[in-house]
Structures are given as structure tokens and as C-alpha cells.
Symmetry: C2
Subunit: 693 residues, 2 copies
């Protein structure tokens, strides 16, 4: 564990500044909880007007404390909080939790005061949690510097789950969801405005805790992605899944986040790509965050996505088949002998094919269920099992169902989840150790998440070779003209269209002769990055005279626009199967990102592109491409040959490496179109725009 964080998570002494005798006040709750959860260190209440707080000796001031506390909870507000931070830092406190609100989230003045607190803490080597935080809690040792209401509402239970959240409220919601499912929680840390320590810092500490087996995060802002990447790397190494909400997906959500904790906005699709790259599963809301907790904690890491559905309701079979298809969980093809053996157990009108419909005959014969499961356990065609018992009760041997299911899960070692709509029946299954949901859709979503997240966690990280030379022409800032842009790409071995930069009609004539018509003629000026909007592109120019006329017209037009004139490009007209785009830019938070998708005029409006974060390999590009809306066209329709996506993927990788190697000297790269030919024909960059950093 990080040296400083040990004072936060396993302090020997905790001062509470603004301590209250009322266990329901902010300054009272941490003391109450530490007492209740057997905190073994020393609790040091600070309150100028009481000798005892909740039965413990209190002290009038920080100065009056008999020892220097390792951790301090600052439960006073406004100016008093600022003074307490200063006093703690001077006294040698290692970590201070600042509960008060009214700092960075309120605007420039608040941000300045917040920054001043950080400065004064840093000067003395003290770290800060908050301000505007609910605090931190470690149920492994009872160090609960946290005023959560929820810890009072639900009996505490130490366990394998860690919750790290910018929001205190959300940490409690998630705590409640997990605890209500009977799962124990070790860590609950809220970081508020994150003036210093962040969710990622606590995630690192939790990932290093050997008892933690699942980490749940709530983020409103990712300011320093490398810290989160570190947590993810440690967790992945230990096979500990991380599931995260990153709120502020929308413009209005980002505005709300900014007034909540002063959070900076992240571009949401880049967040998606970042989390994916680091094996973190992104959940939409608290319900989804906790959804698959039991399945993760069972240690299930499925090998594939092939699903078997079993139910005593035909309708549940139909709905499960629909939902499975929506979740890309194919129904497993059971072996003929499995189907025959299942059919032998069931009445004639039941369905022995997958989904397996035991039918309402189960009411007449409770053994049907236990008879069918062992037959299925042996079939290697299945990776995942879903059992839906929408209705049971009087007349059914529910205890046997639960026992049979638990035994079946044990026997297969594969994920087996159950949906049981009735709470009382569900409790019977849970008591038998079965992972049980109220809702079939939830159960299937948990299985799909488990399968997808396992794949993500196991995906090998691509490695890129060391940096290679980037040849940028002299100059600073702004766009390179097209010829210079193409030259930068060509120098890196990327396939660019055959072309010549022509400075005279004679050169244009020679270029036409060399390349052969028809050609494209395009004005080349660093001042006019978007040529087609100014009528500076002529396509399909079929003869020499037309090429020269286009040269003259475009040259004149550039002059009339008073734009710099690097010349006019005469380029080969390439045809292919489809026009794509490849883009790259430096995200202010996440660094280089690469975009690859459908090309053409409307890239921004139609947004049919994927985002990749370096390093990535061609396989990852291909996978991303198959998520595009135009993916059905790739294989070739109506007699067309398939597209050479490998060539496109190689360009995307090359562009990513180029941007990385440029180390900030390139701000963005825009290739549109990249014309992709039929398989084996390659791809070629037809239009390029490189922007200096």
C-alpha cells in the first residue's frame, strides 16, 4: 500500500475536529462508527466546549492533543476548516479528511481557497481527502472517518468489495445495494472535490488489499488517467475486476458535475475507450454497477458466451432468447445425446432444445428439474447457464430446486445464474448459495457483462516498438499544406495516393502524363485546409487540357483568396470498395487518441467511428471496425468482394504510432478519405491534413 494511504486506511490515531456528542451529527458519526466497529487505534475528539464526547475524553484544540494524530477528520465548516487544515499540517498530521463543502465546486474564489489548503498541506507533507466529502472507511479495522448515514442503517459486514467514489451519496447507494445482497464490504471511500487524493489513489490502495476481490468506482471526472491506469493494472494482475460508473456522459450531466464537485468535463467516448483499454467495465448507473457482484465474487471467468436457458415457463424461454440475442449471447447447440437425454426426462410437449422449457408440468412433478440439470452439466457446448423460475410456491419442492441448482453450479464450475421473481423463493435459492436475481433481464445482463468483462480483462495489451523518427517541415503551429501532410505520412511508410505537387502548367502537364488520367487536381495551400468547400478540388479530370485548365483556375482562385500557394496537386484517381476516415488527435486529458470510421463529408454529423487509445494492434482496430454501423458492408454484398480491412487497420496503427512519436509536435491528423480496396488490394490515403502541435 502507498505509504501515505496507510495513514488514511490504517491509522493508529484519528482526531475528529468539531467532534459532536450526537451520533447523528456530521462530527458525531465517525466517532460513533469507530466505537461500534471496534477501531483499535486511538480516537481523539476535539471540541472546545466538552470534556467528553460519546464517552471518550475530548480535547479543547488540536494543540491540546496528547499525541499527533495520523489521521484527522475536519468536521468544521468554512474558515474554521481552512484553519484546521493549516493547524493539522503544522502539527504533523499525515492525512486530513475535509468534510466541509463550499470550496472548489462554487467557482473561482472557492477554487483558490481549496488550492491554498493543498499548498499548506503539501508544505508539511500532509495529504488531503476532500473537501466536500463524506470521508473514508475501512471495515477491516474499523477506521471509519466517514459520516455516512447508511452505515447506521445496515449492519456492517467486512467482505471482499471495495467502493471508491467521488460522491459520498453514491458511495452509500452502492454500499446499500451490495450489502442488501448479503455481500460484505471492506472499503468505502469518498473523495469529494479531489483537491489532492482521488478515487484512483484509493482504488490503488484497494487493489493492493489482498482481501479485496471486486472494486466498484463512481467517477465524475478523470483528471489524471495514469493513476487510474495504475489501479487497473494492479487489479488486473490480481484478477480483481473493476466496474466503474463515469457520470457526466451528457452535456447536461457534465454541467451538473461541475457544480457538484467542480469536476472538469471529459469527452465521453474517449472515457469509454480509456476504460476499455484498461479492462474496466463501465456501468450506467448504481444498479448496473452492483449487478454482477455475486458472479464476479464466485470467481467465474467464463471461456465463452454460449448460453443455455432453462425455465418452467415457455414465455420466460422466449423472452430469454430475445434478450440473449440482443446481448450477443448465442444459444448453445446442445449435443444430440444431451437433447435426447433431456427429452427422455421431460413430458412430450416440453421443449428439449435450448431454451429448455420444462413447462408447468413441474407443478405435477418437482423432480423434473433435478432430473434435467445433471444431463446438461456434462455438455461442453455451454459456457453460461440461465435458469428462470418465474413462479413457484405451494405445490413445488422449492428446497429441492435450490439444492439441485447449487449442486449443478458446483458440478459444472461454470456461471449459473437464476431468476426468481418471488422474493421468498429467491431467498431459498440464495440461502443455498445460488446467484439469484429478481429479474431475468438483469440475470442475463449480468452473465453478458461477466463474459465480456472477462474477455476485456484477458485481452493482451498491445506493445508498440520504440519511437521512430518523425519528419516535420520547419515551422510552428497551424496546418501543414496537403503535400507536406502527405509527405509526413509517406516518410513513415504509410500508403499515400500517387501524386505530384505542381508549381507550373508544365509540371501539371508532366504530372498528368506520368500518373495517367483521370486525375484529381487540388489546390495546395496551408491557408486553406478545407479545399472542397472553396471549390478548389476537381475530380475525374480526364485529359491533359482539362488538367492544365484546373491548375490555372485553382492557382488563380488561391491568389484571389490571398492564400499562400504551395502549388497544385495532381493525383491519381483511386477507386476502391469504400471510403473510410482515420483521424488522430491529442486529448487534453487522455493524450493521443485515434479515430477510425466511415469516411466522407459527414463524419462529424453521423459519428460512425470508433475511438482507440494507444497502444493498440491491428486486431483491436478490426474489432472496433466490426462495431461500426457500416460493418454489414465489409464482407461484400450483392456480389462485391470483401474489403481490405487489414490494410485500413495498419494505417490506423501507423497513425497512432506517428502521433505518439511526434511527442506533441503534431496536434492532429485527419485522413479522409482513406480508400479501401477489395481484400488484398490494400488501402490508400487520398486526402491528408496534419496539424502541428
Amino acid at each position: 500500500m502507498d505509504d501515505t494511504l496507510q495513514f488514511a486506511l490504517a491509522p493508529r490515531s484519528v482526531a475528529v475536529i468539531g467532534a459532536s456528542d450526537d451520533p447523528n451529527k456530521i462530527g458525531g458519526r465517525p466517532i460513533h462508527y469507530m466505537l461500534r466497529h471496534g477501531f483499535a487505534g486511538r480516537i481523539l475528539p476535539v471540541n472546545p466546549s466538552r470534556a467528553k464526547i460519546q464517552g471518550i475524553a475530548a480535547f479543547a484544540s488540536l494543540a491540546a492533543l496528547p499525541e499527533t494524530p495520523e489521521l484527522a477528520v475536519i468536521a468544521v465548516a468554512g474558515e474554521a476548516a481552512v484553519e484546521a487544515v493549516e493547524a493539522c499540517a503544522k502539527r504533523g498530521v499525515r492525512v486530513a479528511v475535509i468534510i466541509a463543502s463550499g470550496f472548489g465546486e462554487t467557482g473561482a474564489a472557492g477554487r483558490a481557497i481549496q488550492q491554498a489548503m493543498v499548498t499548506s498541506a503539501r508544505a508539511h507533507g500532509m495529504r488531503l481527502v476532500g473537501p466536500n466529502t463524506q470521508g473514508i472507511a475501512n471495515f477491516g479495522n474499523g477506521a471509519i472517518a466517514n459520516f455516512s448515514t447508511m452505515f447506521g442503517e445496515l449492519p456492517p459486514l467486512d467482505g471482499p468489495v471495495a467502493i471508491c467514489s467521488q460522491s459520498g451519496g453514491m458511495s452509500q447507494v452502492v454500499y446499500g445495494l451490495v450489502r442488501n445482497r448479503g455481500i460484505g464490504v471492506r472499503h468505502v471511500h469518498a473523495t469529494g472535490n479531489e483537491a489532492d487524493l482521488t478515487v484512483a489513489d484509493f482504488a490503488v490502495a484497494c487493489a493492493l488489499d489482498p482481501d479485496v476481490r471486486l472494486i466498484l468506482l463512481y467517477l465524475e471526472s478523470i483528471a489524471e488517467p495514469e493513476r487510474l491506469a495504475r489501479a487497473a493494472a494492479i487489479a488486473r494482475e490480481r484478477d480483481v475486476p473493476i466496474v466503474a460508473i463515469k457520470a457526466g456522459r451528457s452535456a447536461s450531466g457534465q454541467r451538473a458535475a461541475s457544480s457538484h464537485t467542480g469536476a472538469l468535463a471529459n469527452e465521453d467516448r474517449v472515457v469509454d475507450a480509456f476504460l476499455r483499454r484498461h479492462g474496466i467495465w463501465r456501468a450506467r448507473d448504481p444498479h448496473a454497477l452492483a449487478l454482477a457482484a455475486e458472479a464476479y465474487l464466485k470467481g467465474w471467468r467464463p471461456e465463452g458466451r454460449r448460453l443455455v436457458v432453462i425455465s418452467n415457463s415457455g414465455a420466460s424461454c422466449v423472452l430469454a432468447a430475445d434478450e440473449a440475442e440482443a446481448l450477443s449471447l448465442p444459444l448453445a447447440e446442445l449435443a444430440p445425446e444431451t437433447r435426447a437425454a433431456v427429452a427422455a426426462k421431460l413430458p412430450g410437449f416440453a421443449s428439449a432444445a435450448n431454451p429448455i422449457d420444462i413447462t408447468a408440468a413441474l407443478l405435477q412433478n418437482s423432480r423434473l428439474f433435478g432430473d434435467v440439470l445433471p444431463v446438461l452439466a456434462g455438455d461442453p457446448a455451454a459456457d453460461l447457464f440461465f435458469i428462470d423460475i418465474p413462479v413457484a410456491g405451494a405445490g413445488y419442492d422449492v428446497d429441492a430446486f435450490a439444492r439441485d441448482t447449487a449442486g449443478f453450479a458446483q458440478a459444472t464450475g461454470k456461471p449459473v445464474v437464476v431468476a426468481v421473481a418471488q422474493e421468498s423463493i429467491r431467498d431459498v435459492f440464495r440461502a443455498a448459495g445460488v446467484v439469484a436475481y429478481a429479474d431475468g433481464t438483469d440475470a442475463l445482463n449480468a452473465l453478458a457483462q461477466l463474459a465480456s468483462h472477462t474477455e476485456l480483462m484477458r485481452a493482451p495489451a498491445a506493445a508498440w516498438p520504440g519511437p521512430e523518427r518523425v519528419s516535420l517541415p520547419e515551422g510552428a503551429g497551424g496546418f501543414l499544406d496537403e503535400a507536406a501532410s502527405l509527405a509526413v505520412l509517406e516518410a513513415r511508410g504509410l500508403p499515400v495516393v500517387a501524386h505530384r505537387l505542381c508549381r507550373s502548367a508544365d509540371e501539371a502537364r508532366a504530372a498528368f502524363a506520368a500518373i495517367g488520367g483521370p486525375v484529381a487536381v487540388k489546390a495546395c495551400s496551408a491557408d486553406v485546409p478545407h479545399k472542397s468547400e472553396h471549390g478548389l478540388v476537381a475530380l475525374g479530370v480526364a485529359d491533359e487540357a482539362a488538367a492544365i485548365a484546373a491548375f490555372e483556375a485553382q492557382s488563380a482562385k488561391l491568389d484571389a483568396m490571398r492564400a499562400s500557394r504551395q502549388g497544385v496537386i495532381v493525383a491519381e484517381m483511386r477507386r476502391g470498395r469504400h471510403e473510410f476516415m482515420v483521424g488522430a488527435r491529442i486529448d487534453p486529458v487522455f493524450g493521443p487518441v485515434v479515430l477510425v470510421g466511415d469516411g466522407g463529408r459527414y463524419v462529424e454529423a453521423l459519428k460512425d467511428f470508433a475511438i482507440l487509445l494507444p497502444p493498440f494492434d491491428a486486431g483491436e482496430v478490426l474489432q472496433a471496425l466490426h462495431g461500426l454501423r457500416i460493418a454489414p458492408l465489409f464482407g461484400g454484398l450483392r456480389g462485391e468482394p470483401p474489403m481490405d480491412l487489414e490494410a485500413l487497420a495498419a494505417i490506423a496503427v501507423g497513425v497512432g504510432r506517428l502521433l505518439r512519436d511526434a511527442q506533441g509536435s503534431i496536434a492532429s491528423i485527419d485522413l479522409n478519405p482513406v480508400i479501401v480496396g477489395a481484400a488484398g488490394e490494400g488501402a490508400v490515403i487520398v486526402d491528408a491534413l496534419v496539424e502541428r502541435g
Copy 2:
């Protein structure tokens, strides 16, 4: 109520054939439930081996009954069930509920037996429910011809909800969901294989029950849409919302449905369009089916979608803003005076803008909540309110929160829903009459559904003028050639491209002269509906000689293909803003359907089209178009003018009316491309293919 269904839903006497003394057996439960729920009619158990069943006099056979039962529950299986149907029909029973499985869902033999039962019932005017059904139940009078387990698990409560379901299991799941929320249920009817009576028939009966205020349906197949349309019309007239699951959305779901009840597959996107047209809200699963029940039953019918969010958690505000944006619920712009009044009540660091973040200061001052709500009640900017209290408990005045919220909802008369994660706190809100959810996402989805469904229920149905003449050339079956196809459209006043059908080189020359180059030259043969795949289309033909050459080449090619040769079309080359497609065909279940969407080669692969069911007006087409993926292009990007979508909509309406008026003589119409110009420039049908019925 339908004359026959009164015998099903309000019978004076009910026979149970195969009656059991065991209240947990299929033949025992209906008797048990009727006794328990005070059925006032006569119960007539039929069992050859017992004198009494559950304390009531039993009879050895149907023949031995002292009176003719109006309703019979047939709880025997196989051949005995078939015989019982025959006996009931002959005895004059009015409705028989056949519980046994093993008929239409098992294949051709089972279907034949099932059909024979229908025939024998019809011969005597008896109606059938099932087979393969759980039965029907009316809690208004205790007529419970149903063996549901759930009625024994949950205390019955008559109320305003009706559940009609093909599946018995699903009827129970939905019953459980609704009842567990404290809502009473009047009707629970399951129809199984629907050999005779369908979900739609029961929906009609429920819509006519004056005490019913919400109808929930589970459908696996829609065989006779006009029955469902009738139920929808009656319900809409009475302002009774209908929410429906239609399972079998996917190919594997449709296979599972077929082995469940022998259901025929429906094309899922046409189902969507059908339900929308009839004001029925489609839910994905049982959870979604019951989701908005309380909101509907409050009678809320919101005027718009503008949302106000209030929470004591900043994170809940952020997540709600994200979810609202995803659900197209704009955050209401509160009036400056409202914001000022809210700000005056809250601490300085709280957010008085929408979302309104009361912050954790609520723990210190429980009045903040009750102070803020009345201020908001007066602002006309809001249509919907969402209050999220993710955490409360000791230290909070939860009773006051619940009371304040209930008063607020009363004062506004607008939808006010609350999310409360903690069950015990949620119960306090519910007890105060507040609509409360466990989950914020659920609460917002319920609001969005309520707003969208209200819009749908209020949308006026378009009316089309009476049929007009359709001029089809003589002949039967197959495709019309393109010239004939265009002529059919032109005769209906639809805008088709200027063109001439040329039968000689001279005619081609004359056509070129009349139309002016460049032109398109297209072979015209009823044998070759898809010309471009055979190289029978030349575009951009610029001069007369080339036009004649194309004429000759295409004529020769048609002859070489041994295809009929109606001639060669010379047509104007039209340019426009975008190429769309308009299609129409006769769905085997739903009748005429019209498709409108993005045009081009890949319509089937990319599926960017909307489906409309007649009658519809141009406004509906425009609304559907704005749901397309290419919608961001409509207004014009990068200096382009907007598109003339009105002209496209008029073509879609015209094609729909043409198909209706053709009364089966046209099977399909395929217009691709329809070139749409800039606003005011119109749209023109460039390529047309009409298929005879």
C-alpha cells in the same frame, strides 16, 4: 362486454372437469380460489371417484351435473380433454377453458387435434380458452378458472389493473410485480395456444370494464391485428393506457415462441409500427411492463417533457441529468424568480439551478426539502418532477419529506416521482401516497414513458380520402417493367423523373434531344427487375452518340439474356440533396406497410428506414424521418440548404394510398432512389419497381 365473454368473466356456474380435492393440484386450485374469493355463482366439481371435493358436492360426470354450467374448466389431459370439449359443447356449455398442453405447440398432429376441438366447439356455439393455458380470473366477482400458483402466494386485492397474457407464467409474474407494489388487480387472463379466444378478445372485455384503468398485455403472436386494434380503440376512448410485451423480437425468440404455443412469427419492426399506430406502449420485459403502473393510475397525462430534478446528492443530480438527456427529457429552464427563491432557501454551496442539489446540508436541516418544493410548484416551466433521495435515515425527518412530497404532488397536479434506494424509507413515501422507485433510472424511465405514451395516445389518427382509381396494365403476377411501374405512379400524381421509353435508335435520339443531356439510359424489361446488377444502366450519358450506343448495347444485352424487351428508357439525370428510398408491401398479418429511409444500394444491409402503417399523414412521415440515423443531415451541413422532406413525405403518403387502393392487385412497390432536392425543389422518383399482387 362481448356476449360470449360474459360467460367467461361473469359466469353463473362453473364446472371443473377433473376436479381435485388437493388445492395445489391443477384441478384443485380453481375451486380453492373461487371458494376463497367468494365466487357467488355455483361451483360444480366433476370427478368420478369422489362425492365431495374441497367440501362441495361433486358429480361423476358432466352428464350427471344438475344444471348446464356456463363456464367449464377442463383440467384433464390428452384424449380426455378432447372428449370433455366435445361433451361440454354438446351439453351447452358457453365457454370452456382447456388447461392441458400437448396440442398446437407440438406440431402438425397436435394442431389438427386442436383445430378439431375448435370445430366441435363452434358447431355448438361454445368458445374456447386455450388449450395449454393457465386459465382466466376475475377478482371483481371471484370467477377464477385459473390454476395460478401466485394467487395463493399473494393476498388478492381487486383493483384497476387488467392483465391479459398468452402465457400463464408471465401473467403470474406481472401479477406479482403489480401486487407487490400494493396495486390491486381485477383481471388475470391467460390464453395459451389461442385456438379460439385471444389476448385481444380479453383486452376488449377488460377495456369495457368501467373499473379497469390500466391494461397490461403479454403477446407472443399477433394473428388477427384488427381484434387488438379494437381493444386499443376502446381503451383509448376511455383514456385507459395499454402497455404490451410482444415477445419474439429476435429470430431465436420466435423459434422459442413457436415451440411454446405454436405461435406464428410476426415481423418485429412491423409489430412496433402497429402498436405505435394504436397507441399501445411496447415494453421490453415484465419489469418494464409494470414500471409506470402507479404513474398511469394517478391519472397523470403530462403536457410535455420538461423535467425538474431535485436531490440531496450531487451525484444523483449528475446521473439524472445524463439519463434525462438519454431519454430526451430536457431539463426545464426555471424562471429567474424561481431560481432566486430556491437559492434563498439553500446554503450557498448548493445548486439552485436545475438539477437542484440540496446537498448533504439536508442532514443538518431537514426543512430544506419542504422549503424548496413549494417554490417549484408555481413555476410553469416544468412538466415532470423527479426527486432522488438516495440516502436518508437517522438524523433526517423522513416523515416530513414524504408529507412534503405528497403535498407538492397534490399542489402541482403534475407527475412527481421519487427514487429512494432504501426500502424502509421508500415505504414511508409510498405510505404517504407518493410514487416511489428504488432506482433513479427506473423512475426517469417511467416519467419518459408516461410522457411519450401520453403523446402517442393523444396523437390524432390520420384519415385518408376514399379510394381512387389504380391503373395497372393487363396481366397477372410478377414485376412490372420500369416504364410501366413509373406509369402507375405517374397516373396517381406522384412525381416521376422525366423519361421516355424508346423502342428504336431514332426514338432514343429524339428522347435525348427532348430531355437534354446528360441522361440515364436503362434497359426496360419485366424479366430483369434489378438492372444495375446486369450492367443494364448507363448514367451521365452526355451526348447523343453515346445515348444511341447505350441503347444499342442494352438492347443487345437483353436479347442475349433472352429477356423480354419493352425498350430502353432515356431519362433525365436528376441531382438533389440526398437519395432516399420509399417502399411498400403487404405484410401477411398487418396488411399494407410503407417504408421510408436512406436510399442506395445497401438499404437492406444498413436498415436505416422507418415503417409506417396506413393511414398516416405527412406529419407522421416527417416524425419518422427524424428518427433515422441520417436525420442530422436533413437541415443542411457545411453550407448546404435543408432538404425538401415535405415532398418526400407526400410521396410516402401517396405510395401508402396507392397500395391500399390497389386492394391486393399490387404486392409491393420499391422506389429507390427518390431524389430529394433542397427545400422547395421537391422530390422525384427516379427508379421504380411495382410488383403485382
